[in-house]
Every structure is written in structure tokens, then in C-alpha cells.
Symmetry: C2
Subunit: 885 residues, 2 copies
């Protein structure tokens, strides 16, 4: 540790860092060094490494040697500039900036003009022959130092400036005269004294030390922590500190400062795009006090500088092979580059830039593909809120299904359907949704629920429909009688407009302007390239022929999960399903099932047709039967009503019978109850019917010449014997249909791996299963012991307190659940090395999880139709990332 | 395969088998061979191996060569007896008996006198000069062959015998004359013709073939399958067939047959114990048609035979070094041994025999310890139903807590408490119990529930109290309004007597005589030996000072699980607990917790005192908070009542407030919800209070000179960060108390491993945990995805259909859950090789699971107090079994 180098010089004629040292020097420091190495003019300075931040944060003191190194670097800076730090005649002034390994805009803090005090300000005035400039710099320094280092809010100072301008009757800061600035400097120092109880530190070295401390401390300020959490940046990366000689854009009309992008960050168009301000320092551009000019204006006012800047930006884009976001300052006609970094861009621009740079030969296809953030794709596929819109956010829930939607609030599925028939757009607001709400969900623009997580019914169904959904918005309370919901003192009544943003989880009062999605050719191009690179298949979860068609459009290569129970909820089907459930004998049950068979068969025929040539995995009935019965409380209410109305005995008896059914099916923990293959074992006739419907559909299509290999999937297997018993049922039902049709259908029988025991005994299960599909939603529930319906009570506080980095229902927990996936794959392939293995939980469309799936050897992922493009891209990026490791 | 030997001779002068070949020859065949080897007179015969059974069952035909081998063996038998099979003048007759690898009494079938037909019967008559004997044998053969081979029930034949005896005016079978027997033989043959449509097979070889087939087929009859299931005998062991020359106990007054034990199987007393019948064949003794004489009577009637028998039984006991159950036949003064096997015995006898044999020097201590079935210990520790009592079993549930109890039926906990005060014994019958019923459970003799499995609330609490419990008795329906329960057409009203047997799950109408448990010195001796042998510790789960004291009496070496929530249910505590839960601020909650602190502290002081010198593991609050609130439906009912009565607004508001609390705590899957350490994270003040109570109790005791090292255990950890956060809370609360007391207490902070993720990431968790305790109840739930409260809907059919061999909540599932335990131990010890690891689920007292725990390297098991002796014994047996491997 003692021999470590903590400080790296850059600029002048000695640059010790380079671009590849981002982890150590931060993005800003590494890029400053790289620019210096390229011969681009950079004010000399030095970078204190991120390691210092880590050690300082951990031990609450600097590692030995750091301060000496800083002093030595400072001496070199004095030499390079031929100025002395703190010299009243010829003072060296510094900027102190943070710079983490990845760009964290606005999160960390900056101090400019450090080194000024009551004496050096006069030196600066003399040296530049510009007293106004010197005091302008001093008052700026006092403000920033107070804000960043001393924690005194800027508004304290701004108020005084405004008051002074009013006194003088002027509008712009630049119109303040030298005396006013001197007056403000004195005032500012008293504010510091009043707020801190101590005089403003006149000693430049003390200023520097305090500024460096402040930057390191700011690594752990709330904003920074929150930004890291949102962007999955580890807390232990730390930030570097860049100490750099000041240059001045505020030394007159031949000075200025600006920011620019090497391509348009909104559209991706190839053009130099930026703006600058004459006679200003950096923060003036950002603050928007004066309106900056477009960068082209520089061509007229300082043509040589403009040409140099164009040369530099081209050099930088060519060197970094990516669109750059640059900052520069012109000091009395001399150009200095203060920063270059990869420019942020919209999803749309990202696609265009990647495709065009490939065409220009600047990057190859793999690089182009790896440039698109998989999660950004969501944004180009769904309507989004106009970035310029002013939002009255009244609550925030989980971002459960991406995109934004506007509509009038309704509180029941029926109302949503009714309004929809009247041509009205609605947002369906429910405590939680159940399968009975599906019609209403389809009829509404978007869904907002109080309870439930990322894999709740509302979330899963909404994603399947490609509809925005905010789930688990625990802050609001619904009063169903009054038909309103409240959050604190905001009350939203039925018929009021709200806007929801399913990408951020925000609920906004009123009708906000939305931007429609544009499906661009560039997206097709990128996804085409991705398809050529990726090695795993991407399938879709789809329950209807319509879903299947959408999935094909998005490029799904088959269906990885067709949930047959969703077919049970049609208006004309649910009464038959209930008949089946309430049957008092196996015979009665079979009679009801016979009525369901042609309906299921019709669905399968449609899906098979839409997926011609691609595999279709059909999961047999999974949820507990009570999900198909009406709610107990509603039934009791109905009974009470019927009785008080003096209804017929037969009507009352029917409701009583239903209540009896609901009660006998009631479970304490339905998620761990009588569902999945357990139903297939206790009621084999249900699975028999489903298998017959599948094989009959395949036989019919075969007669038309359409060949389908159905993959019949058994849910919730925990022991190989369950699969063994059900496989016998499946095989004999299938054989019966094939014999009847005089036909032979190739089909597979496989299983979900969605319980820890299934993964742990996958070697045994693979003796019977012809394929595996990891149901990572359920597997996450049992591995963590988190019910996805109830986790809303503690999961948010887990994320907030950093106990879990991410919601494991959204992003696969690689350490725990992923370990079971790995064990399952290894054991399964031990028994059958050719075993086809996929994943069909919601994680199948989440980029990090798709990459994990690729790495552990899945054959395919399957996700909701609208996430298929994301999965295609992520699968390709996994290949590229492994290559570049 | 072709070279395999399928048939083994024994007796005469050629014996090919021996005792160690039990797997191949079955118990009976191996022991017959062994007796022949010892020079004990055995009628010659041969054994067809169990392998033949396995192959025959699998392929539905005999492996090639078997039948030839049988024929060759038959020829040798003919030679040895100097008789021919089927010879009308001098016929060889045979017995055909099954004999599996372990004794399966009554399960398999026997045919005697095989080889008789219309011709050989006359030969037998001539040869023995005893026509009556010959026809008596023939009619017996026809009956047994019909029963066993042809499936015609014996009663068909018995009816005719009874009719004939009535005609003749006689009482005993032996009083039937030869003509009557001839008449019966003809009648019997017509019955066979009528029932099968075919003549009785006269060909002896055909008879033999059919009998062998029948024995092999009987391996898979329902009785046999059920017995195997109950006794954990694998289906693929198969049975052997023993074909043996007949000897006759029914040849007159110098003939006879008997069974005997080398020690008293009921008490274990060392004395020759048995009975015999003169002039009878074996089944007469068993059938109880004539009353047999005690074995000593033989001393008078056939003193030489008696002396020979005594010699033989001593030889056999010495040879096999265990109590033997023998069968013999005396044919005209000559003694033949037909069978010897290890004798079944009562638990009491098992203990006495083991201890006495050790004292006699026949066996060593390890053998003595391994002779006791750990599960038998339950029987000597609890009252049991008098084996002679006649039982009117009206329903059967799960054997949830062993022992039997008698009492009047009550339907509420309050009634049980009230009756108890009146000195009346009750059985508490509930749909399911909740923590509020604990008082009533304690006041009743035993508990019967309709719902819930082996680890339901009722089961766990009853076992803890050592009270009999039958749980999950789904056959009965409670009508709480009428205060009665029904099962089919049996109705039991409040106040009616019932008896429950918690060891079998039976519910019996009326007051049955019980036998009180006798705690014998032999048990103490055996357990003392076991303690010296075993290498793992045995602790107890105990929640109160009383439980702790009981646990110590049973030899617990500490407490492995003290469930603090059970302390929250006292009459004066529950209102305070509710105050705490309903608190609207952290301050209000702390105020309620302050009231609870002294109560908890008192409990801990008591427990620590009872366990002085032994470790005490205290689990912080685990269940979801709604368990402490009243039931929702009851509250709604109460509200309705209050309103209709026109109660005060404040009363109504209070109930409404409670309803609000219940609703806000409602969960879809509470088992996977807001409980365990999740509560500790969202409400740290609760754990803080508990830790303070623990440490204060320890400080107080320290002042008295009592040193305690409390082990504080955090439940339901899934991620190391949960433990990390809570450990900080624990440490600072503990420090605060220690500072206050100016004292230092050594304590450990550890965690339950009861979620798959905890086991999978045990290496990470061991960075923070100072000990692990596997909570295998919860771990079983999440590993299988089985809710213990709901599994009753499908688990019974799983066991019945052989999908699972055993209820995984009763016997640890070694393949799945056990794999996680292994992973957890390995990973935990990777991080900390000295990590103390135990198990505190119900499996901690189940013998097979205790042995598994020993084998995977646990330091201790912990179980309910009454199972501690079982665990001590099983832990010792694990050591012995490993040594003998």
C-alpha cells in the first residue's frame, strides 16, 4: 500500500495517465489524460485516484503519503503555469472536480477559481489588468465553495445579487460593475461567517484540502447514493478528484465557454451540435442565465477557434469511436478542452448513431450492437411522456410494465369495458387485479394497482398485452364506495384524468402529452445484426393466437410458455370451468371438461398456425382452482342480498353451493398449495382433456400439411415421480387421440423447473423430462421465501437500505436463484447431455438475466412479446461481452 | 444371468444357503438353512430366490432355467424323503411358503399339504395307516389352496364344516369322522368348480407351479404393498419361495405343533414362553379354534421332545444372539423346526432384553443400543391404548403427537379450560388451532383437528406439551353451532367421550382403557449407553421455564430453539402485543414494547436458570404480526353485533380499528410474507426489546453467579445483508444493557437456515453468523413448494400413490431438502471451519433424520422435549451403523 501511486499528472509536457485507466482515474481524469496524450490543449492538472476515495471513505482518513504527493503535484503545476498557489502577485488558481469511473452527471460537485482570497484577488486583477474579472471570479468562488464545501445554499448569495441588480436597474450579471462585485464579495464573506460561525478560509492550501475532502465526502451524499442505486453502480468504486489549472472564459469578448456533441444526441443526426456563451464561465451555460448561442455562431466571431474545435471534435470522435460530449473554454482567443466523454443520447439517437457509424466504417457490427442499452429498447417500443412536460407526480409505485398512458380513472373492470365501448380512454385502478379483470385490463389504456410486485398478476398480464402498468403503489388508498383514491391530501375521483408512466412507476395528475413510439429501420438493422451474433434462441410467452402473432412480429422464434389457464377465463368458458370445479364426481367433471375441449383445441390450432415451423411449449393447468371461482366476500354479500330480497330457494342454494366450493378450496398459502402438477395428479382428467386438445389440434393441422411438434410442459414438479405419473397420463391420452385420427404426432413432454427441489434433483427429473424450462418467478419466490404478492410490504425497504441491490423478481438473483439454475442445468445435462433448457419467467426479457442465461448454457429464453427485441439484443451482447473478456 | 443360481437346497445332508444370505433367500429361507447348518432338525426343502420374484414381477415371466432348477431340486427332495411327488402309493407332500428379506407377518401366504389329490390321498392313508389324517390333510389343502391360489374366501369352506359339525352335534374339528371329511372334500371340490369354472387341479406339478406363482404374485397384493409402505420396505426387494417337505403335527396324540419365544415378548422376562396344540397343524394355533396349552405342558406329555426343544432354543438364541420366535412340529414324537426368526417384542420388552443380554455377556452395549427401535421409545413415554381393548374407530387422521388420551369432546379452548377447572377431562376438537387456543390445549387431554399436517400449529404445540394429537382428520366435519362433529352417519356431540391415539391417528368412540407409561430403569440404562456412544449433542425446543425443566429431565443438553412469540400469547400479554402492533408511530410501539420487556425477561430468566450451564438458543420474533390479532370474520361478526345492539361509538370505533389492522396485515401467502427477520428490519424496535430482555436476564443471573451464554438467533434470513443489518441492532442493544449493568455477557448471534437461498449462500452468511440452525420445517416447505397447512389436500394421495415414500414434514427428505442441508454445512464451514451447526425443525426428533444429521456433520439436533430420548438413541445408532458399514 505504501508504494502505491495516488496522484497522476496530466497536461503540459507530463501526462501519466491514459484512457484505459478509468477505474483508477475516473472517467474525467482518464479522458483529460487521453486528450493531453493526443496533443489536444488541456489546462495542466492532476488526478487523485479513486483508491484514495475508497480508503478515505472506509477509514475516515487519507492513506499515508497522499497529501505529500498532492503537494509535489501542486509544485509541478506552479512550475508549468509559472505561477504560485497563494502568491498575492501572480496566483495560481485551480478547479477541483469529482470524476467517477462512470459518468454521474450532476451527482458530484465542482469548485472553480480555488486559491482566491482577499490578497490573491488583487494579484489576479493586476496580472490580468481586469479588476472586474478578478472580483467576478472571487464572488463566483465564494458561492461555489460555500455551496459545495460549506453546505450553504446558493440562493443565499443569489438573493443578494438580484437585490443589487435591482438597485442598479440592470438585468444581467455581466452588467454588474466592479464596485458591486466588491460589495458582494464582502457580503458573501459575512454570510459565510453567519452560517458557519467561522471566517471564510483565506489560506489557499486549506481551501484545497477542504475542497478535496468535500468531493470525496460527496461520493456518499444522498443524491449520489440514489443515482448509483438507480444505475447499478457499486458503492465501492469511489470517485477520483481532478485538480486543474483554471482557464477563463470570462475575460472578455474573445473569451467564452461552451458544450457540444459530435452528433445530435436527440436524433442521432451526424452534425456538430452545441452551444456557447461569450465572456462566461462553465456554470453560466448550464445555469441558463443568459441564452447561449448555437455553436455555428463561433464560425463568425472566432473562425480560427471554430476550425480548431472542429478538428478536435473529429479527432476525438475518431479516437474514441463514439459520439462525444465535450466542454471547452476560450481564454482570450486560446482554446482549451476541459472535458470529453461519451455523450448521452436518446434511444432513437443511439440506434441511428450505431447504424451510421458502422456504415462509416468507424465501428463494426458487434460494437454497434453492444452500443445499444437493451433496456432502452423499451422506450422506442412504447409511448412515452414528453420529456418537456411538467409533471404533477402524486404517487410512485413499481415500474411494472413500460410505457406511458393517459385516461380517466375507473375502479372496476366492467367500467373500463363500458367506457371503452363508448370510445373513452381509461386507466384501471385496482387494489390488485385477478384473472376476472383481464377484459377490463384489455379495454383500458393502462393499469395502476395498490398491491403486488413486478410479477404480480397485473404486471404479468399488462406486459403480455404491452400495456403500461404501475403496480404496488402502496401510497394510495382506494375507497371503492366513494369511487375515488387518495394519497395524503390528493383525492382523485372516478372520471378524473391521470397519466401513468410504467417505465418509472410515476402516477401523474391530469392529462400529460405523450410521444408515440416510432419503429425505426435502424432498430430492425441492429436486431438483425444481433440475431446473427447471438447463439441462444428467443421465444415468447403467449397465450392466445393474437399474442402469438404479435410475438412473431417482434421476432420470437417460438413460444416458450403458453399458459393454458388464461384460456379458461373467456366469458363463455368460465361457467363451464366452474361446472368442472364444482363437479361432485369424476364423471360430472369429465362432462364439463368435454365442453371445454373444443374451446382449448381452437386456441391451440390458432397458436400453432401463427407459430408454424416454430416450437410451441404448452404448460398444462397451473393455478389453484379457487382462482376460477368468485370471491368469497362478494358471494357472502350476494347471499345476504338474495336473502333480504326474499329470492328463490334455488338461487340461494346455488350461491351457497358456490360458497361451499370456495371454502373447501380455501388455502392458507395458495402459492404453496394444491396447484400445478398436484392438480394433474389428483384430477388427471383435467390434464387428459388438455393433452387431447393439443394433440387433436396438431392432428388437424397435420392434415392441412402443417407440421407442429408440441412441447407439453408439466408445472410445479418437485419430485421425478410426479412427472413420471403425469407422463403416463399424457402419453395415453395422446395415443388415444392419435389412434383415433390414424395419425402420429411427434411431441415432447417436459417440465418447469420452478421449485428448489426440482433444480436440486434435476438429474433424476431429467430421466423423465424431454426438456426443462426454468420458471424463475416461482423459483425466486421459494428460494427467497418471498411471496410476490406480499413482498411489497418489505421489499422496497430492502432496496432502499441496500439489503438487496435489485428487486429479484425483476432482475434474476444470480447468487441464489441463479445458483439453483446452474445446479439444475448441470445435473440435468449430466443425465441427458442434449437436454433442451430454457427460461420462461419474467427474467427471460431482462437484459442482465438474459446474459446470465447465455452464460450458464440455456438454449433459449422466453419473455412477453414486447420484450422479445430486448432479449434478442441482450443475447447478442452476451456473446460480444464474453469475446471481449 | 444365465449362469445365476436360482434355487438353494436345505436340510437332509445338503444345505447350500446360510444366514447371511437373507437378501437372496429371504429371512425364512436363510434361517432354515442356518438351522440345518447348526444340525437342528429341519424338514428338507429348497428356496427359490428373491431375484426370481423381482424378474418375474418385472417381466411377467420366469427367467430361463428357473423351472428346470426347481425340478432338479424336487428330485433331490424325493430322494431325501424316499417318496415320489404325485405317487399314489407313497406321495411326497410339500409346503409352499413365502419369505421376504425382512419378516412380513401375515402379509404373504402359505400352502400346506401340496401334492394331495384324489389318488395320493389314498396313498397317504395307507402309508400312515390313518385315513382320517389323510382326508383331514386333503380338506385343509383344498381350503388353503383355494384361498391363496384361487382367491376363494375361506369362509365358503368353514360354513360347510360348521354345518357338518352341527349335523353331527360335535364342537371341535378333531371330532369330525373320516366320512365327514370325505364328504367335505367332495363338497370343497364342487365349490372350487363353481367359483372358478374349472375342476380342482389334480396334477401335483400344476399345483406346485400355481402355488409358486401365487406366492410371487402376492408380493404385490394390496396388504403387502401397504405393509411395505408403512414399514419403509422397498418394493423391489421381492420375496423368496420356500418349498419344504411336509411334516405332520396332526398325526395323533404324539404329534403336535407350536410357537414359542425364547423370552417373554411382552415383558422381556428371560423365560421360555410359548404354546402348542396336540394333534394339529400350524394354522390351528394361529386360528385360535382350540385353546393351545402353555409350552411347559409339553414337559409332562413329551419330556424328551421338551428337553430337545429347550436345547434348540438355547442354541438358537446363543447363535443369533437375540430373542427368537420359533415354530415347530412334532410328528409322532419326532421334533422338526419349521422356522426361527428374531422375535417381535413390545418396547418395554425390547429394553429389558437388550439390557439383560448385555449383562449376560451375550451382546455388547453397542448392540444393545442398536436393538431398540428409536421410534419405539415414544410408546414407553406416553399412555397407550390397551392392546386388548376393542376399538370403535370412527375416523383416522395424521399421527401428529404420540400417545393416547380419553376425554369428553369440547369445541372451544374456553370450554376446555372451564371443564378442566371443574376437574373434567376433555378432548379439544377444532378445525385448526391458533396460538389463542394454547390455554385450551394445555387444559385438555388431547387435541383433534380437521386441518393441518405434521407440523401444523396443533401438532407442534401438542408435541411440545407431550400431549396426544390427531391432526388433519379431514373425514370429520364440525358443526360449531350445534356443538357436534360428524363422520358419515356417526355424530359425536359435546360431552360425548372419545379416545384419540396420536401414535396411529385413530379417533375412537367412547372411553377406551389406557395403559400408563412406565419409565423403566432399562430405558435409563440404554440411554446412558447411547450418550456414551453418540458424538452429536441433543438439545430441546422449549419456550417456557416449565418446558425447559421437562427437557432437562429427558436429558436435553441445552435449548436449540426457544420461540419467543409463544411468550406473547399469555392472557395479560396479548393486549400489550396488540397495542404494539396497532401502534401508529415508532414511539407508541416502543411504549408498548417497554411493557413487554419485563415479561420476556422473566421468561428468559426462568429458562436460563433451568438450563444452567447449557446453551440456550433464542429465536427472535418470527411469525407474521397478524397471527397476534383476532380473526377477521370474528371481528366482523362482533361489529355487526355491536351495531345491532346500538353499542357506543367508541366501542365500534375500537373494533373498526382492529379490523383495519387485520386488513392492512392481511397477506396472500403469509408463509412467504412479512415475517421473520423481515419484521426485524422494518420494526427494529421489536428485536431491540427482545435482545434487551435476553441480556438483562443474563446480567441479573450473572450477579447471582449463574453464567449463561445466550445464543441469539435470527429467523428467515435469505441474504447475508439481512443478518448484517440486524446484527448491528442486536449488538448495540446488547451493549446498551451491558453498559447499564456495568457487566459483560458473552453471547452469540446466529441464524436459522430455513430458506433455500440461505443454504445456497451459506458461505456468505457464515461471514456474519456465529452459528447456524437448520429450520427444516420451513426449508421443507420452500424446497418442495408445499405449504404445511395446505399439503393435506394432496400429500396423502402422494403417499398412497407412491409418489413420495414418506411425509417430508415427518421424515427429512434427504435427496432434496437434505441436499440443501449438506450444501449449507459445506459452504458454512468453508467460511468458518468451527461453525456450530444444528437442526431445530421437527425432524430433529425423527430417528432417520437424526442419523442423517449425524452423517452430514451437525453438531447437535434439537427437538420437542418428549422426543429427546429418541434423538439420543438415534444419534448413538448412527455412530454404530457407520462403524458396521
Amino acid at each position: 500500500m505504501a508504494n502505491k501511486k495516488f496522484v497522476y499528472l496530466f497536461g503540459n509536457n507530463k501526462t501519466e495517465g491514459k484512457n484505459s485507466m478509468k477505474d483508477l482515474l475516473g472517467g474525467k481524469g482518464a479522458n483529460l489524460a487521453e486528450m493531453a496524450n493526443l496533443g489536444i490543449p488541456v489546462p495542466p492538472g492532476f488526478t487523485i485516484t479513486t483508491e484514495v476515495c475508497v480508503l478515505y471513505t472506509k477509514n475516515n482518513q487519507y492513506p499515508p503519503g497522499v497529501l505529500d504527493e498532492v503537494n509535489r503535484a501542486l509544485q509541478k503545476l506552479e512550475k508549468a503555469n509559472n505561477k504560485q498557489f497563494g502568491d498575492p502577485d501572480n496566483p495560481l488558481l485551480l478547479s477541483v472536480r469529482s470524476g467517477a469511473g462512470v459518468s454521474m452527471p450532476g451527482m458530484m460537485d465542482t469548485v472553480l477559481n480555488l486559491g482566491l482570497n482577499d490578497k490573491t484577488v488583487t494579484g489576479l486583477a493586476k496580472k490580468t489588468s481586469n479588476e472586474r474579472f478578478a472580483y467576478d471570479s472571487y464572488r463566483r468562488f465564494l458561492t461555489m465553495f460555500s455551496d459545495v464545501v460549506l453546505g450553504i445554499p446558493t440562493e443565499n448569495f443569489e438573493k443578494l445579487i438580484e437585490a443589487r441588480k435591482e438597485e442598479l436597474g440592470v438585468e444581467l450579471d455581466t452588467e454588474l460593475d466592479t464596485d458591486s462585485l466588491k460589495y458582494l464579495v464582502e457580503k458573501f464573506k459575512s454570510i459565510i461567517k453567519d452560517n458557519t460561525g467561522e471566517e471564510f478560509p483565506q489560506d489557499p492550501r486549506k481551501q484545497l484540502q477542504m475542497a478535496i475532502d468535500a468531493v470525496f465526502n460527496s461520493w456518499n451524499n444522498q443524491r449520489a447514493i440514489k443515482y448509483r442505486r438507480l444505475n447499478n453502480i457499486p458503492d465501492n468504486w469511489g470517485t477520483a478528484v481532478n485538480v486543474q489549472s483554471m482557464v477563463y472564459g470570462n475575460m472578455g469578448e474573445k473569451s467564452g465557454t461552451g458544450v457540444a456533441f459530435t452528433r445530435d444526441p436527440a436524433t442521432g443526426e451526424k452534425c456538430f451540435f452545441g452551444e456557447f456563451l461569450t465572456n462566461a464561465q462553465g456554470e453560466d451555460v448550464v445555469a441558463g442565465i443568459r441564452t447561449p448561442q448555437p455553436i455555428e455562431a463561433l464560425q463568425d466571431s472566432m473562425p480560427e477557434v471554430y476550425d480548431e474545435l472542429v478538428d478536435i471534435y473529429r479527432k476525438l470522435e475518431n479516437h474514441f469511436q463514439d459520439m462525444q460530449d465535450i466542454e471547452f473554454t476560450i481564454q482570450e482567443g486560446t482554446l482549451y478542452m476541459l472535458q470529453t466523454r461519451t455523450g448521452k443520447r436518446t434511444a432513437k439517437a443511439a440506434l441511428r448513431i450505431a447504424v451510421e457509424m458502422e456504415k462509416e466504417g468507424l465501428i463494426d457490427k458487434e460494437t454497434a450492437v453492444s452500443r445499444i442499452e437493451a433496456s432502452q429498447i423499451d422506450k422506442v417500443l412504447h409511448p412515452m411522456i414528453d420529456p418537456g412536460a411538467k409533471l404533477d407526480v402524486i404517487a410512485t409505485g413499481l415500474p411494472a410494465s413500460p410505457g406511458a398512458a393517459v385516461g380517466k380513472v375507473v375502479f372496476t373492470a366492467e367500467d373500463a369495458e363500458e367506457k371503452s365501448k363508448e370510445g373513452k380512454q381509461t386507466i384501471l385502478v385496482r387494489t390488485e387485479t385477478s384473472p376476472e379483470d383481464i377484459g377490463g385490463m384489455a379495454a383500458s389504456e393502462g393499469v395502476l394497482t395498490v398491491r403486488g410486485g413486478m410479477t404480480s398478476h397485473a404486471a404479468v398480464v399488462a406486459r403480455g398485452m404491452g400495456k403500461p402498468c404501475v403496480a404496488g403503489c402502496g401510497g394510495i388508498t382506494i375507497d371503492i364506495d366513494k369511487k375515488e383514491f387518495t394519497n395524503g391530501n390528493v383525492t382523485v375521483k372516478e372520471g378524473d384524468y391521470v397519466t401513468i408512466d410504467g417505465s418509472t412507476g410515476e402516477v401523474i395528475l391530469g392529462e400529460v402529452k405523450l410521444i408515440s413510439p416510432e419503429l425505426s429501420d435502424e432498430l430492425d438493422t441492429i436486431l438483425g445484426w444481433a440475431d446473427n451474433i447471438r447463439s441462444i434462441n428467443v421465444r415468447s410467452n403467449a397465450d392466445t393466437p393474437q399474442d402469438a402473432a404479435v410475438a412473431r412480429e417482434f421476432g420470437a422464434e417460438g413460444i416458450g410458455l403458453c399458459r393454458t389457464e388464461h384460456m379458461f377465463f373467456g366469458e363463455e368458458r368460465i361457467p363451464v370451468v366452474r361446472e368442472m370445479i364444482m363437479a361432485e364426481s369424476s364423471l360430472e367433471r369429465k362432462q364439463a371438461l368435454e365442453k371445454l375441449l373444443p374451446m382449448q383445441k381452437e386456441d391451440f390450432t390458432g397458436i400453432f398456425r401463427a407459430m408454424e415451423g416454430y416450437p410451441v411449449t404448452i404448460r398444462l393447468l397451473d393455478p389453484p382452482l379457487h382462482e376460477f371461482l368468485p370471491n368469497h366476500e362478494e358471494l357472502t354479500e350476494k347471499l345476504r342480498e338474495l336473502k333480504s330480497k326474499g329470492a328463490k330457494q334455488s338461487e340461494i342454494a346455488e350461491v351457497n353451493r358456490l360458497i361451499g366450493g370456495v371454502e373447501s378450496l380455501k388455502e392458507v398459502n395458495p402459492m404453496l398449495g394444491h396447484r400445478g402438477c398436484r392438480l394433474g395428479i389428483t384430477y388427471p382428467e383435467v390434464y387428459e382433456m388438455q393433452v387431447k386438445a393439443i394433440i387433436e389440434a396438431a392432428c388437424d393441422l397435420k392434415k392441412e400439411g402443417v407440421e407442429i411438434v408440441p412441447e407439453i410442459m408439466i408445472p410445479l414438479v418437485s419430485h421425478v415421480n410426479e412427472l413420471k405419473v403425469i407422463k403416463e397420463t399424457v402419453k395415453s391420452a395422446a395415443q388415444e387421440v392419435m389412434d383415433c385420427n390414424g395419425s402420429t404426432i411427434d411431441y415432447l413432454v417436459g417440465t418447469m423447473i420452478e421449485l428448489p427441489r426440482a433444480a436440486l434433483t434435476a438429474d433424476r427429473i431429467a430421466e423423465e423430462a424431454e426438456f426443462f424450462s426454468f420458471g424463475t418467478n416461482d423459483l425466486t419466490q421459494t428460494t427467497f421465501g418471498f411471496s410476490r404478492d406480499d413482498a411489497g410490504k418489505f421489499l422496497p425497504s430492502y432496496i432502499e437500505n441496500n439489503i438487496l441491490e435489485q428487486d429479484p423478481f425483476a432482475v434474476l438473483d444470480q447468487e441464489g436463484v441463479g445458483e439453483l439454475v446452474k445446479i439444475g442445468i448441470e445435473k440435468g445435462r449430466d443425465t441427458n447431455s442434449k437436454l433442451k433448457i430454457g427460461i420462461c419467467g419474467e427474467h427471460g426479457g431482462e437484459p442482465a438475466s438474459v446474459k446470465y442465461g447465455h452464460n450458464v448454457g440455456l438454449n433459449y429464453v422466453s419473455c412477453s412479446p414486447f420484450r422479445v427485441p430486448i432479449a434478442r439484443l441482450a443475447a447478442a451482447q452476451a456473446v460480444i461481452e464474453n469475446k471481449n473478456k
